[in-house]
């Protein structure tokens, strides 16, 4: 250190206070940039980072947004239509002025990619790259195939049906998912080099699991659930029983329902298939359709785990169309005339925690009532068709050990609905991505994938004073009178609407580059950079001068700046 010689009348040179490092005043906390998960991302079964692709839209780059989206989910035009969008339920903006219309924008991006022919951001895998067998070309299998190719593997799909699509084709009516949309997006995915599709190849009949294990580096099982769960009421089963999934398939194949479906119908269940069959029967001329569900309709006091597990807008539309719902109830007795059903007795239920912690259903004695009906349609779920999976199935489903779907059999992975506790297209797509990551690590070397343990940034971590109020974009819906069996019910967004909706994204837990920290630091300890800093933001903390006041963290709109304990 050079001695400064001071004389009478000397003056301080400009900016010399920089020699005094006020950073050593920090005693307890210092600011850090902390990327956190936005709640939409944390809630997405497909693993999409909605915040990341909304950021690209906010920058005015739809194609980049789509590329960020298909990094996780290759089928946005489809999920934008069929997903129950838990992202919107989780959206922090719901506490302000309504959740973002995430599914509408996702759908717009998917449609835009198809219309403009944006190429999937994947390279052709080397011809001698390891090959992966994927059983079942439903959403899970297709996602697994796409991610295998994206990670440099060749994928061979084995599908029992004559067309790819799985339940997207067999169980989702065109009013929710138009067939040309489905064909266009699947066609683009299946045309990717590195994916081969073997149709009419059923496991147990045309191929065997052992054969696949011998011929391929790894096998991903994505057979879905084809068999309805057995249903009876205290042992009684009507002679002319049709389960919901088969009715739906038959109706979509032949366009006809049994005669009894013209009268009073009771549907017993509480999922999307139940909802679809209710609506189709009503539109096909049923006198009265009543859904009996053990779950609850959405209300201000409905517990999350008690809520009926259907796409929220589907439920809204069903109620508009005159479907009656009896919540918290089950069928307790069938009233038969010979072997035909003429009525059902229903009883109210309550969910209460059992001794093992899981909710169990308790019937209320004295709440039984009888409804006259012409037909009862059970829709209580499906299970895996066991052909070809002997010894691998555990009960009705696969129960892999981890999120990546690893089964006890070496090199075999199980994904999608066949995993018993899944149940959405998005979950199958997410499973496909995770299994492909584990397979790629296994076949190409490299580290095994690890779970993303970043914290989630809830609404309490935001400073909402900095966000302008903007109403959620409403989309047009087909009026009830015009709803048929082909025309899609929910309308789409225009480009301007999609871009405007993207402006509503709060960027929870991720830098918005709003300059607040830079503008509001009293100590000029936040430095702005032209190039992105190493953490992806445009700011760095100059800890030589930061006094640790916490103002930047307090005024950061997104919660991207956090105060952490000073170390050392």
């Amino acid at each position: 250190m050079t001695m400064t010689r001071l004389t009478r009348g000397a003056w301080a040179a400009p900016g010399t206070s920089l020699e005094f490092k006020t950073g050593n005043w920090r005693s307890t906390e210092r600011p850090v940039h902390a990327h956190a998960k936005a709640p939409c991302h944390a809630a997405c079964p497909a693993g999409e980072d909605q915040q990341a692709w909304f950021a690209k839209l906010q920058e005015g780059q739809p194609q980049q947004a789509w590329r960020a989206l298909v990094h996780a989910n290759p089928l946005p035009a489809i999920t934008g239509r069929v997903c129950p969008h838990p992202c919107e339920t989780a959206c922090n903006r719901a506490a302000l002025d309504g959740a973002l219309a995430i599914h509408n924008v996702e759908r717009w991006l998917g449609d835009e990619a198809v219309a403009r022919g944006w190429a999937y951001p994947v390279d052709t895998p080397a011809p001698d790259a390891p090959r992966v067998a994927i059983v079942g070309a439903g959403p899970g299998g297709l996602s697994a195939a796409y991610h295998c190719v994206r990670l440099g593997l060749n994928a061979a799909l084995f599908e029992a049906a004559p067309e790819a699509g799985g339940l997207l084709r067999s169980a989702i009516p065109p009013t929710r998912l138009p067939r040309d949309t489905l064909d266009a997006e699947l066609g683009r995915l299946l045309a990717l080099p590195g994916i081969t599709l073997n149709l009419r190849a059923r496991l147990g009949r045309d191929v065997t699991l052992d054969g696949l294990r011998d011929a391929f580096g790894a096998v991903i099982l994505s057979p879905g659930c084809e068999l309805p769960k057995p249903w009876s009421v205290r042992g009684a089963v009507p002679a002319d029983l049709h389960d919901g999934l088969h009715l739906l398939r038959d109706f979509m194949d032949h366009g006809a329902l049994p005669d009894a479906a013209r009268g009073d119908v009771i549907v017993h269940g509480g999922g999307n298939t139940a909802m679809d069959i209710c609506r189709i029967m009503k539109r096909a001329g049923a006198n009265r359709v009543t859904l009996i569900t053990a779950s609850a309709l959405p209300g201000p006091n409905t517990a999350r785990d008690d809520l009926i597990n259907v796409v929220p807008r589907e439920l809204e539309e069903a109620l508009e169309e005159g479907i009656e719902v009896i919540e918290h109830a089950t069928v307790s007795r069938l009233i038969m005339k010979g072997s035909r059903v003429t009525g059902v007795e229903i009883v109210s239920l309550r969910k209460e925690p059992g001794p093992d912690g899981r909710k169990r259903r308790v019937e209320f004695e004295g709440t039984e009532r009888v409804l006259p009906v012409d037909m009862v349609v059970p829709c209580v779920g499906e299970q895996v068709s066991p052909d070809g999976f002997e010894g691998v199935l555990d009960g009705a489903y696969f129960w892999p050990d981890d999120a990546w779907g690893r089964l006890r059999e070496d090199g075999v992975f199980a994904i999608g609905d066949a995993r018993g506790n899944r149940g959405t297209v998005a979950a199958a797509i997410g499973d496909g991505r995770l299994a492909a990551q584990a397979v790629a690590a296994r076949l190409l070397g490299g580290d095994a994938p690890v779970a993303d343990l970043r914290p989630e940034r809830g609404v309490a971590g935001l400073n909402t004073a900095y966000y302008p109020a903007m109403r959620r974009t409403a989309v047009a819906k087909l009026p009830v009178a015009k709803r048929g069996f082909e025309t899609e019910i929910e309308g789409g967004l225009s480009r301007a609407e999609a871009m405007a909706e993207a402006e509503r994204c709060l960027s929870c837990g991720n830098c918005l580059a709003c300059d607040n920290c830079w503008t509001m630091c009293p100590d000029s300890a936040v430095i702005k950079t032209v190039e992105a800093a190493t953490d992806g933001s445009h700011y760095v903390f100059d800890l030589d001068y930061c006094k640790g006041c916490g103002l930047c963290a307090q005024e950061c709109p997104t919660g991207y700046i956090q105060m952490v304990a000073e170390t050392g």
Binding site: P468, D523, Q554
Partner: protein, 353 residues
């Protein structure tokens, strides 16, 4: 003037400002700090407390006033924490005056510069003690003589530098070391001096109030004042975590609530007439502002009827401001108390529209 543009370019080169145009060569900054896209008139390394509202306000004022400025600074926190000799946080010519004569010194600086044919703008800075109380006479003289000076008062509502003594700017019912809350009184007995009306009565071209909670608004007011030849005056509400006894992280939040409840109205007066106000979109109750600060903690003793009375009194004062200045907003306005803070990806929303 040719001479001035040469000087301006010299200053730009010295302070590392971005070039005026693509034709002007510019050396690459050697550190990130030197490459900041704003004028760093008040640098880091100053000794202000954590979360100092005054340091923040002064930094924003310098960014928007500089670089061709000179500063006369009254005694007070700002002077003390920026210039512990032999160091200075200022990167412009800066002169320390006494408590009472910053405006007089600024007047002399302005006259001298004028005599030498220079256009350099003179700024005078003071705290509320040096402005509302001790330097008030000199300030009045400077305004009356119509010096081309921008006077900025950083209002933290007490003599913070000397140990939190009440000033004529201290709000009613605030507890300070010389107006302690206790058996006899609920903090300061008197009302906050309405300085802006007195300033405006000098019929100067521009007088305005601003707040650190709204940097964009403060920046606009500084720039507007810089463009006026003649005396201009700004009072900037600058919370003091130490004296107001709130967490250092809450400086901006406290300042925001002061504006939103109506206790600190943001107004602009030209030639003595009210010409603009910042509308309050959703007025907040005064208690929202009071509850964050220890200097008002005695007003939350629910067993003391005087506390309830004083809270009602402060609410009435805020309501009076809202009524007198017409602060109540009519519908959403992009520059009202809610709209002006809004951001979008890439910066403040207001800068884009």
């Amino acid at each position: 003037m040719v001479q001035d543009s040469t000087r301006l370019n010299g200053l730009r080169a010295k302070h590392g400002r971005p070039p005026a145009g693509p034709h002007e060569p510019q050396a690459a900054p050697s550190t990130l700090r030197q490459g900041q896209p704003r004028f760093r008139g008040l640098e880091a390394g100053h000794r202000a407390c954590q979360g100092c509202g005054e340091a923040l306000a002064a930094r924003i004022v310098m960014e928007n006033a500089g670089p061709d400025v000179m500063v006369a600074n009254a005694t007070g926190c700002l002077e003390v924490f920026t210039t512990p000799w032999p160091q200075s946080a200022w990167r412009v010519p800066w002169m320390h005056s006494l408590f009472e004569n910053a405006a007089a010194i600024a007047s002399g600086m302005e006259a001298a510069l004028k005599a030498r044919g220079r256009n350099t703008k003179v700024l005078a800075f003071g705290g509320d003690g040096g402005t509302y109380d001790i330097g008030f006479q000199a300030l009045s003289g400077m305004l009356e003589r119509h010096h081309d000076v921008l006077y900025v008062c950083y209002d933290n509502e007490a003599y913070m530098n000397t140990g939190i003594q009440r000033s004529s700017s201290t709000p009613h019912a605030a507890s300070t070391t010389t107006s302690p809350a206790g058996k006899e009184r609920m903090g300061k007995r008197h009302l906050k001096k309405d300085l802006l009306s007195i300033i405006a009565a000098h019929h100067i071209p521009y007088a305005a109030s601003a707040s650190v909670a709204y940097p964009a608004d403060l920046a606009r007011k500084v720039r507007y004042a810089m463009g006026i030849e003649g005396p201009t005056f700004l009072v900037v509400h600058s919370p003091c975590p130490l004296g107001w006894r709130h967490a250092s992280a809450l400086t901006v939040e406290v300042a925001r609530r002061a504006v939103e409840c109506g206790l600190f109205p943001l107004v602009e007066l030209e030639r003595g007439a009210l010409t603009n106000i910042m509308p309050i979109r959703t007025p907040r109750p005064v208690v929202d502002y009071l509850e964050l600060q220890g200097r008002f903690a005695h007003l939350f003793d629910e067993t003391d009827t005087r506390a309830i009375e004083e809270r009602d009194h402060l609410q009435a004062l805020a309501d009076h401001n809202i009524l007198t200045y017409g602060l109540a907003g009519t519908g959403d306005d992009p520059v009202d108390t809610t709209g002006i803070a809004h951001v979008r990806r890439g910066g403040p929303l207001a800068e884009r529209t």
